[in-house]
Amino acid sequence: MHGTWPLRDTLVMVLAGGQGERLYPLTKDRAKPAVPFAGDFRLIDFTLSNCLNSGLRRIYVLTQYKSESLDQHLRTSWDVFSPEIGEWITTRPPQKRMSDDWYLGTADAIYQNVYTLQTERPRHVLVLSGDHLYRMDYSLLLEEHTRTAAHVTVACMERPLAEAAGNLGVLVVGENDAVVRLEEKPSRPAPSPGRADTCLCSMGVYAFQTEALVRSVIEDAKRSGGHDFARDVLPAMVRSGAQVHAYRFPGRYWRDVGTIDAYWEAHMDLVRVQPVLNLYGRDWPFRGETQHGGPAKIVFAGGSPGTPKAEVFNSLICHGAIVSGAYVCDSVIGPGARIEVGSRIEQSIIMDRTAIGRDVRIRRAIIDKDNTIPDGARIGYDIDWDRRHFTVSEGGVVVMPKRVPFPRADAGAHE
């Protein structure tokens, strides 16, 4: 019936103001969507790649806290559209036109950009989060959204009750997947129709009819309390009788890497032989950071006793990285990182340009960018020592923030 028209009439608003407090210290100097992922990417690249692959090319990224590295990334890696033919990716920090406040929540971020919607006058607005990992063809969602003529369509997927409890937004649906209730992080989620152990969880992906969106965020702005889509706006729309539709996402991978442990586990998925998230599909390429620095290099073949030997298994090695006679397993080695002879890196994420000396041992750790790890150092071997000097997650993953001096006094002395 319509070819590509829902795409042409759709404006994308990517919410990128998240502080990502539970990802600290990876978010010490950057907003959550700018957190690096899988060596070559930042979290926002997945949402933006989904837009690009879905044919959506009018994108506003609503930024807020610590947006410098996000701005820079969008300038250097996402300068791919042509504004002169009506395509763009543009960042929008709070304009403070309607108040002196920063964005007070996801809905307030849209409310404060009502002037932009006024100028563009799209038929639909796709509201996305800039910090979720998934692969989704938004054109299928928009097609269903226009076909059902819903005021808002919420993308969702079945998740185990135990995973959803206290953690995810849950949709209760009636006939034809009309949403009759929304529960934000309920302690006892209701199973979806015909299921015993799963429920329909929101993915934080919303397709709105523009006028319905504008009226809802204005109403929300005039109410006291919170100003979030999941918690405030969508439940109010359901209560007022608006048509809220649930779109069942046909894929199986979606993650909010909201914590250090979830972030680490998402990387451990990638290094598996057959990961759930495929970074290599030619039909749906994920676009990442455009850096150069030469191909990755792995040297020293061993052979005779006493000569070093590089061994690299189940790992992602980015361009410009050099592994010299070291052992690397179940790890992600970022662009330009160096690992010297005799070192052993296991189940770890080593970010850009970090230099690891000789005979270093690192396991279950995340080493942020631009660090220097001295010869003989140990990380992930003595949890008490790690706790004194770094951040250690609930699951025991050690995180060393970006560009900090390595603790000197007792480094390596605890073995």
Binding site: R97, M98, S99, D100, D101, V114, Y115, L117, Q118, V214, R215, I218, A221, K222, R223, S224
Partner: protein, 124 residues
């Protein structure tokens, strides 16, 4: 006695409205531009704001209204303008009513009565 903040840059119109509204038994405060209106709304807590849209001093009535609402969320604002075109503006939807200026003040008085009634109901 309900307190009305009347925002209107043309003095003749302002005086005419003020007189009429006072005759109806309202207390009337006046502002001639948006910035003054935002400040007065914050300090004087009016029960209703009547807001012209075309205003001087680099802040129009719609921006003034959104600034007032950011501070006092439940203050009803009635947009009162000579132009119907502003009804297409998304932000004008934040107003409780949109009344076109005319010699007959009855539509404006009715909008004020409605807004006050709605406000008292909401507060009960």
């Amino acid at each position: 006695m309900a307190r009305i903040l009347l925002v209107e840059d043309e003095e003749n119109v302002r005086l005419l409205y003020k007189q009429e509204l006072e005759e109806q038994g309202y207390e009337v405060l006046c502002a001639g531009d948006g910035r003054t209106a935002v400040k007065m709304a914050r300090e004087m807590c009016p029960d209703v704001v009547i807001m012209d849209i075309n205003l001087p001093e680099r802040m129009d009535g719609i921006e003034s209204m959104s600034r007032i609402l950011s501070h006092s969320k439940d203050t009803p604002v009635i947009l009162n303008t000579g132009y119907s075109e502003y009804q297409d503006s998304f932000m004008s939807w934040a107003a409780d009513a949109y009344v076109l200026k005319s010699a007959d003040l009855e539509p404006l008085l009715e909008a004020i009565r409605d807004a006050l009634e709605k406000r008292s109901q909401a507060r009960e």
